[in-house]
C-alpha cells in the first residue's frame, strides 16, 4: 500500500506532524514502512504560460514557443507533440539542474535560440503522467506565472510504501491509514459530508432495477453517470495515481482507482448500453453461485462475480455513453473460499482487497467518486442509489480494564483504553467494570478481547510497555529430545575435529537420481514440488553428499570430506535421523605438513575416521550388497551387537557418472548409536609382551576368518590382535604376507618367554589346522 503525505492530508490534518514522526508512528502502530521517498523538484522550475507556438522552420517535430514566466517572456524550442498555446506548463529556467543532472543552458536548436525547457513529469523526477510535457492546472493550487513549482504542496511530498499484514484490509486505503494515525496521534478525521444529488437530475430508477435473492449476504450499491465529452482527471489526481503506480490509460477506470485507493470501497464500472435490454433499461439479478460467492447478472449474462472478477467485454471505458457504477462489500471469508475451491475462477486485482476485507461503508466510495465527477463538465450524474444491503450484525466484545492490563503486563487507564477504541471507530460503552466495544464493520479481524488488547498495545506503543521478568517454578526440563540433541552435537564436533565439514542439505531430493542409486521411492509424495530435481522426500543423505562432493571437486578441491546429520524418510514415510559421511579424493590437500603428494583415501583410513567420530565398531560383510557401493569394498557397521549403518567405496558406475575421484561413503542410523555410560575394566600393572607373526595368506581370504580362528582359542592374556602389515611380491605368488601383532598381558604376573611362546605356538597350530596357514 502506497500513500502520500499530501493525499493523507485530505482525511486528517497532519500539517503539524514532521515526516520523521509520521514514519515512526506508522512503524510503531504496526503499519510497517517498507520504503520512503521524498518527492521534490529542483530549483528554477516555474509556472509558465505558452502564449504562442509556431513550427520550427528546419524541423518537422520542433516547435518554437513564446512562454510567459512572469517577469519575462522566453523563447523556448520544444519537441513535445502535445504542446499548445494557452497551456500552463513547467518551465526549467536557465541554471536549473534537473534530477538527471542536466543543467539548463541557453542553446541553439537547428539555428533557433532557446532559453529554457518545457518539461515532462519524468524529466522533473516525477512518476510518468502522460506522453509529452506535463500540463499544469489549478488543481495543484493557484497558478502564478513565475512561481517556483517546488512551492506547491503536491511537488513537495512524501511517498510512503507500507507493508500491510494480512489482517489489515481496512488499511488498504488512505482513509484507513488516516484513521489509524488519528488514534495514534490523537487527531480527528476530517468530516466528509454526504453527497447530495443536484436538483433536476434524472433518477437512476428510470434506467436501473436491482433484485437480490435472500441468500445474498453482501452489500451492493449502484449509481450511474453519462459521459458527454472528454472525461479527464485533473493534474493532482493524475499525479497521485501515478505516484502510487496505479495510473491507467482509461479515465473511467482512473476515477474508480482514485476512489478505491482513497476509501477502500471496491468499485466496478459497466458499459450501460452493452447490457441494456431492448427497452433501454437494465435489470440486475444478484444470485449466489456454487461456492458461496455472488454473481451479478443482467438477464442470463454474468457481468461479474462480486469481489472477484468481471466480464472484460462489458466493462465501461472512456467511449461508453452511460457508465453504471457498482460498489460492493463481500465478507473476506466468502471470497477466500470461492477462490480456493474453484481453481478455474480467475480473480482480478479486486481479490487482493476483497479477500482481506474492503470498506463496507459503500457510500464513502461512491460519494467521493461523485464529488470528483460533479466538477467535471463532461459528465452528467443520475440521482439516487440502488442498494442491496443484507447488513452484517455488528459484533460486540466485552472485557475489563484488568483483563487487558494483565495481558499487557502494564497499567493502561480505562479512559485511555476507551479513547483509543473510539478513535479507531469502535462504539464503546462502560458499565461498572465491564467495557463493551462494538466492532466497526471494516474490522472483520477483531473478534475477542485479545484482538482488542492488540489495538491498545499498538496505539500505546510497545516501546512504552516496560519489560518484566516472569517468575516460574524451577523444574528439570532436560528430556530425551535434549539428550539426543547433545549426543548429536558431540558427534558433530568430533566429525569436524577429524576433518569433516558439516553440510545442511534439503530434505527434498531428485527422485530419478535416487532410483538410479537403487532406492525405492517413498510412499509419501510431494504434490507440488518446487522443481523436477527436488521432487521427492529423500530416503538417504548420500545423494546430496555425492552432489556436494562433486561440486567441491569441480572447484579444484583435491580432498573433500563432508558430513551431515539430518532427517530422511523411510519408504513408508516415517522420519528418521541419519548421520552421513563422504570422503573423496586425497586424504588431505597437498602441503608440506601433509606431504607433497598425499595418498588417495582408502577404506581403512575412512573407517578409522568414522570410528573416531561414532566410537568403536566392527565391520560385518553384508548378506546383500548395496548397489551404489563397490561390491569389493563394502561392509555393515556393527555397534553394540546391532547393525547401525553401512560403509564402503562408491561404485564405479556412480563414481564415473558423477565425475568423482575415489570416494567412500558411510551412513548411520542415529537412533541406533549407543551413548551408554562406559564402565572401565581393571587393567594390568604388569608389563605387556608383543610378538609379530608373518603368515602367508592366500589372496581372497578375509582377515575376519583369521581373527575368528584366534578368538576361538579364548586366550585370556591376548589383549590385542592387530593386522600390522600386508606385503606381497612376485616370490609370494598368489599369496600375501600378513603380519599380525599379538599383545599379551596378564592381570596377575609378568609373563615369561616360555608362556608367550606357548600362546604363539597354540595360535600357529590353530591357523595351520583350521585354515591351512603357516609362517612365511
Amino acid at each position: 500500500m502506497i500513500i502520500t503525505r499530501n493525499w493523507l492530508q485530505e482525511w486528517i490534518d497532519i500539517r503539524e506532524i514532521s515526516s520523521e514522526r509520521l514514519l515512526s508512528t506508522l512503524n510503531s502502530i504496526g503499519l510497517e514502512v517498507d520504503a520512503h521517498d521524498k518527492i521534490s523538484l529542483p530549483k528554477g522550475v516555474v509556472v509558465g504560460l505558452v502564449k504562442s507556438k509556431r513550427r520550427h522552420e528546419n524541423s518537422d517535430h520542433l516547435n518554437v514557443c513564446e512562454v510567459d514566466v512572469g517577469k519575462q517572456s522566453l523563447q523556448i524550442v520544444c519537441g513535445a507533440k502535445n504542446v499548445e498555446a494557452g497551456q500552463y506548463v513547467a518551465v526549467s529556467l536557465i541554471g536549473a539542474v534537473l534530477p538527471s543532472g542536466l543543467e539548463i543552458k541557453p542553446a541553439k536548436l537547428r539555428g533557433v535560440e532557446s532559453f529554457g525547457m518545457i518539461c515532462s513529469a519524468t524529466e522533473l523526477g516525477l512518476a510518468k503522467t502522460n506522453d509529452g510535457i506535463m500540463v499544469l492546472d489549478s488543481s495543484i493550487g493557484e497558478l502564478v506565472l513565475g512561481k517556483e513549482l517546488r512551492e506547491y504542496e503536491i511537488f513537495n511530498d512524501d511517498l510512503i510504501e507500507i507493508e500491510l499484514t494480512a489482517n489489515r484490509g481496512d488499511c488498504l486505503s488512505i482513509l484507513g491509514i488516516a484513521r489509524d494515525l488519528g488514534a495514534a496521534l490523537d487527531l480527528p478525521l476530517k468530516e466528509k459530508h454526504e453527497f447530495e444529488d443536484a436538483d433536476g437530475a434524472p433518477g437512476i430508477g428510470r434506467i436501473l432495477s436491482v433484485r437480490a435473492s435472500d441468500e445474498v449476504s453482501a452489500k451492493f450499491a449502484f449509481r450511474a453517470y453519462e459521459i458527454k465529452g472528454e472525461l479527464k482527471l485533473n493534474l493532482k489526481q493524475t499525479l497521485r495515481l501515478a505516484s502510487v503506480d496505479i495510473l491507467q490509460s482509461c479515465a473511467v477506470q482512473n476515477f474508480i482507482n482514485y476512489a478505491t485507493h482513497s476509501t477502500g470501497v471496491l468499485l466496478r464500472a459497466y458499459d450501460f448500453e452493452k447490457i441494456a435490454s431492448a427497452d433501454g433499461k437494465v435489470a440486475l439479478d444478484i444470485k449466489p453461485m456454487p461456492n458461496g460467492e455472488f454473481g451479478v447478472y443482467a438477464g442470463k449474462r454474468l457481468l461479474s462475480v462480486a469481489g472477484i472478477c468481471q466480464d472484460a467485454e462489458l466493462k465501461a471505458c472512456c467511449s461508453s455513453k452511460v457508465v453504471l457504477l457498482e460498489a460492493n462489500y463481500t465478507a473476506p471469508l466468502i471470497i477466500a473460499k470461492a477462490v480456493n475451491e474453484n481453481k478455474g475462477l480467475k480473480g482480478d486485482e479486486h481479490v487482493y482487497r476483497s479477500s482481506r476485507g474492503s470498506e463496507p461503508k459503500l457510500r464513502l466510495g461512491l460519494d467521493l467518486l461523485f464529488r470528483l465527477l460533479l466538477k467535471n463538465k463532461a459528465v452528467s450524474l443520475y440521482a439516487g442509489t440502488q442498494k442491496i444491503s443484507n447488513a452484517l450484525e455488528p459484533l460486540i466484545v466485552g472485557f475489563s480494564e484488568k483483563e487487558i492490563n494483565s495481558m499487557i503486563g502494564a497499567q493502561i487507564p480505562r479512559d485511555k483504553i476507551v479513547k483509543i477504541l473510539k478513535r479507531l471507530g469502535f462504539d464503546v460503552g462502560v458499565e461498572a467494570d465491564l467495557i463493551t466495544a462494538k466492532v466497526p464493520p471494516f474490522r472483520h479481524d477483531i473478534v475477542n478481547s485479545h484482538d482488542v488488547c492488540e489495538e491498545i498495545v499498538r496505539i500505546v506503543g510497545i516501546d512504552n510497555i516496560a519489560a518484566a521478568p516472569l517468575s516460574f517454578y524451577e523444574k528439570n526440563r532436560l528430556n530425551d529430545t535434549y539428550v539426543s540433541l547433545c549426543n548429536g552435537r558431540k558427534l558433530r564436533s568430533k566429525a569436524a575435529a577429524v576433518g569433516f565439514f558439516e553440510c545442511v542439505h534439503y530434505v527434498f531430493d531428485d527422485g530419478k537420481a535416487l532410483e538410479n542409486l537403487g532406492f525405492a521411492p517413498c510412499k509419501v509424495k510431494i504434490l507440488n514440488p518446487i522443481n523436477g530435481e527436488l521432487d521427492a522426500l529423500r530416503p538417504t543423505l548420500i545423494n546430496h553428499l555425492l552432489e556436494s562432493a562433486e561440486r567441491n571437486l569441480k572447484n579444484s578441491r583435491r580432498s573433500v570430506k563432508l558430513f551431515e546429520l539430518g532427517d530422511v524418510f523411510n519408504a513408508d514415510g516415517s522420519q528418521c535421523l541419519r548421520l552421513g559421511f563422504i570422503a573423496s579424493g586425497l586424504k588431505a590437500e597437498p602441503s608440506i605438513a601433509a606431504g607433497a603428494k598425499p595418498e588417495a583415501v582408502d577404506f581403512l583410513y575412512f573407517a578409522n575416521l568414522i570410528q573416531s567420530v561414532i566410537g568403536k565398531f566392527n565391520v560385518r560383510l553384508p548378506s546383500e550388497n548395496l548397489k551404489f557401493l563397490s561390491e569389493f569394498e563394502q561392509a555393515q557397521i556393527e555397534q553394540g551387537g546391532e547393525i547401525v549403518g553401512f560403509i564402503g567405496r562408491v561404485d564405479y558406475a556412480v563414481e564415473a557418472g558423477r565425475d568423482l575421484d575415489k570416494s567412500y561413503l558411510c551412513e548411520i542410523d542415529f537412533s541406533k548409536l549407543k551413548f551408554e555410560n562406559i564402565v572401565a575394566d581393571a587393567y594390568s600393572k604388569f608389563p605387556s609382551v608383543s610378538r609379530d607373526l608373518s603368515i602367508l595368506v592366500p589372496s581372497g581370504m578375509r582377515f575376519e576368518r583369521i581373527k575368528q580362528c584366534i578368538d576361538a582359542l579364548k586366550i585370556e592374556a591376548l589383549k590385542e590382535l592387530i593386522p600390522s602389515d600386508l606385503y606381497s611380491d612376485e616370490s609370494l605368488g598368489d599369496s600375501k604376507s600378513l603380519t599380525i601383532r599379538l599383545v599379551f598381558q596378564d592381570l596377575q604376573k609378568t609373563l615369561c618367554d616360555e608362556e608367550v611362546a606357548g600362546f604363539t605356538d597354540k595360535i600357529l597350530a590353530a591357523l595351520s589346522s583350521e585354515l591351512g596357514l603357516g609362517l612365511r
Binding site: 489489515r168 483483563e403 499487557i408 488488547c453 516460574f472 526440563r477 565439514f501 534439503y506 504434490l527 573433500v560
Partner: protein, 331 residues
C-alpha cells in the same frame, strides 16, 4: 704438558679429542707411561711419583670430559640447526573440518534457552493440517495461509511451514501448564529465489502458565535479553504485527549491527534489522487443545537469518550447497 692442554683446547671434533686422549691414556700414552714407570721406581720415590701421576691423570681426565661435553653439545646443536624447519612455513591450512554456521547458530540459540530453564521439544517434519494450521487459528481460506506457500503430500498431510505446530504437540503432551519450551528444526515453504530457500530452520518458543500470570511485558523481557546475548549491545525495537496464533503480535527489530543504526545496504537504510516474530498466545490456540484459564507467550525466529547476520553471509542459498569455500571459514 702445556702442549697437551693446548691440543685439548684446540680439538674441534670428538675424533680429534679422542686422538689426544689416546696420546695420554692409550697403551703408549704419556699418563700410561707414568704409571708403568711407577712400577720400576725406587720405593722412596714411589709415593711422590704416584701422587703426581694421579694428579695428572685426574687433571687431564677432567679436562677431556669437559671438552667432550662441550663438543657434544655443539654437535647436537648443529644437528638441531640442520633439521630445523622454517617456522614461517606454517600456514592456516589446519586439517580439521568445521560445523555448519546454521547448525552452530542453532546450538547457540538453544544454549541460551536451556540456561533459562526452557525444555527442548520436537515435532515431525511431515505435519497434518490441524497442527500446522487449524489449531494455530489458521482456518481454511485464511489469507495468512497464503503467506506460507505450502508443500502438500499425497496422503493429505503437508511439510510443516513453521515450527509453531510443536506448540500444539507440546501442549497435547504436557496436558497442563506450565510449559516453558523451545522447538528447533527445519521448516519448508514453496519458494526459491535470491532470498528464499524451500527449506530453512526455525526456533519456536512457548511459555504457558495457569491463570493470567504471563503478560506481554514478560515476552518483551526474555526477547530483549536473548537478542543482546546473540548480537551484543544492540537496541531492540518492537513493532505491532500480525500472526494468526498470537494476539497481540509483534515483530522485533534490532539496531543494525553493521551500521549501528546509521542506515546501510543490509538494513535497507532503515537502521533496523527484523529478527523475530512473537506475541501473546491467541485464546483460539488454547481452545484448540482444550486448555482453559491459562496465559502464555510465543515467539519464532529464522536461524538462517541469525547466522547470516552474525557471520555476514550474503547469500542464503550458499548455506545449502555444501561448498567448502564457505564452510572452511568456520574452522
Amino acid at each position: 704438558m702445556q702442549e697437551i692442554k693446548a691440543k685439548i683446547d684446540a680439538a674441534s671434533s670428538l675424533s680429534e679429542l679422542e686422538a689426544v686422549r689416546l696420546e695420554l691414556f692409550g697403551k703408549k700414552g704419556i699418563i700410561t707411561a707414568l704409571f708403568s714407570e711407577l712400577k720400576s721406581a725406587a720405593p722412596e720415590q714411589k709415593k711422590e711419583l704416584a701422587v703426581s701421576a694421579n694428579e695428572k691423570r685426574d687433571y687431564f681426565s677432567e679436562l677431556i670430559a669437559a671438552k667432550r661435553a662441550s663438543l657434544e653439545e655443539a654437535e647436537q646443536r648443529e644437528a638441531m640447526k640442520n633439521e630445523a624447519i622454517d617456522v614461517t612455513l606454517f600456514n592456516e591450512n589446519v586439517s580439521c573440518g568445521a560445523l555448519h554456521p546454521v547448525m552452530e547458530t542453532m546450538d547457540k540459540i538453544i544454549d541460551y534457552f536451556i540456561a533459562q530453564n526452557f525444555s527442548v521439544e520436537s515435532g515431525p517434519l511431515i505435519e497434518d493440517d490441524f497442527h500446522n494450521f487449524e489449531a494455530l487459528n489458521l482456518p481454511k481460506y485464511h489469507p495468512a495461509r497464503d503467506m506460507q506457500d505450502t508443500f502438500y503430500l499425497n496422503d493429505g498431510r503437508l511439510l510443516r511451514t513453521h515450527t509453531s505446530g510443536v506448540q500444539i504437540r507440546t501442549m497435547e503432551k504436557f496436558k497442563a501448564p506450565p510449559v516453558r519450551m523451545i522447538a528447533p528444526g527445519a521448516v519448508f515453504r514453496r519458494d526459491m529465489d535470491l532470498t528464499h530457500t524451500p527449506m530453512f530452520h526455525q526456533v519456536e518458543g512457548l511459555v504457558v502458565e495457569q491463570g493470567d500470570r504471563v503478560s506481554f511485558a514478560n515476552l518483551k523481557y526474555v526477547l530483549e535479553e536473548f537478542l543482546r546475548y546473540m548480537f551484543g549491545d544492540v537496541r531492540v525495537r518492537f513493532r505491532p504485527s500480525f500472526f494468526p496464533f498470537t494476539e497481540p503480535s509483534t515483530e522485533v527489530d534490532i539496531s543494525c549491527i553493521f551500521c549501528h543504526g546509521e542506515g546501510c545496504r543490509v538494513c535497507k537504510q532503515t537502521g533496523w534489522l527484523e529478527v523475530l516474530g512473537s506475541g501473546v498466545v491467541d485464546p483460539n490456540v488454547f481452545k484448540a487443545v482444550g486448555w482453559k484459564n491459562v496465559s502464555g507467550y510465543a515467539f519464532g525466529l529464522g536461524v538462517e537469518r541469525f547466522a547470516m547476520l552474525l557471520h555476514g553471509i550474503p547469500d542464503l542459498r550458499s548455506l545449502f550447497e555444501g561448498d567448502i569455500r564457505l564452510l572452511e571459514q568456520f574452522k
